[in-house]
Symmetry: C5
Subunit: 86 residues, 5 copies
């Protein structure tokens, strides 16, 4: 999994029918304690992460396992909020 | 998912039978607000994105979920047009 | 597979139900004999690796094969502790 | 998908039984109009691309969808020849 | 597929039951004719590559297709020895 900071919401009107109602977050990736200059877009279905929160992201086919419908055309999903690393 | 700008259409006459009729777009990837020097090719089946538009791209096995036939030999597909990030 | 050093435990209260009870480790990746500045988060279900130990990590869909439930939304798992390379 | 230029044929006598008869091409990847210093090996089953030709390559699990037998242990396949980008 | 040079054997006593008896090789990746500073660990079940040999590696879900049991938690496997590129 990757760690990242939520920095925005992506607005997309023209998108696949299967993705209607999905929330897409712009995420800035974190390496250890540093924000990087790498970004990905992840779906958030159940965690409801807010702007500025640090999240855990599952990528690849595992991302679809977080949704009720495993045939969704996505490749990254927020699976948790990071409280701290100890 | 990745964000990118559509910069061209790829013309390919000699290709696999399963890919006949597919539209292949050359995409320049975007990190946050910056165009990068990374590029990928993505299929566009239903979004009909035009040159210069910013799009959302699903990669990997999730890309096949965007097509009617999940056995297509592709690894990236346009799933939406990005209006804005807020 | 990748090699890395366990450097911390990730605490996450707000996470997907499917991930409750999972241990998430912060891992610093190793290239040959060098620690790199790349990091990933991996689940540890059975190896019980401790802080400072060098581990072997399987990523992608293969990670789910290490769990009893192959529908878990994860993409990296600790599959072993590295004793040495000879 | 990725774009690349075919620069050689890989000769391998000692290989898995499932791969006997496969043609493996050494490919130099292209970013937009530039050859890069990144290379991958891709199988060519039906396109018959020649040395110097620019090709389209599908990677990951999608690569196996290009073959009759979807259980082949490969991760990259040539799916077309690029005529031009317009 | 990737090309790389076998540089060592990884010894791991504490590992998942499904991986007992597997041979894990430390591989230094090759780009065209150059050894790089990137490394991965790959399973070798049938090729029996020796230290110093150049090998072909399949990564991702395709790696599991090289084994009898497709539910093994691995993501890279040696599929052949490279004799030469012509």
């Amino acid at each position: 999994m990757l760690r990242g900071k939520v920095i925005g919401n992506i607005v997309s009107t023209n998108k696949l029918d299967k993705l209607v109602g999905f929330k897409f977050l712009e995420i800035q990736l974190i390496e250890n304690t540093q924000l990087t200059d790498k970004y990905i877009v992840a779906v958030d279905r159940t965690v409801s992460a807010g702007i500025g929160e640090e999240v855990l992201i599952t990528t690849g086919s595992g991302a679809r396992m977080a949704l009720c419908d495993e045939s969704c055309p996505i490749d990254a999903v927020v699976v948790g909020v990071v409280d701290k690393i100890q």
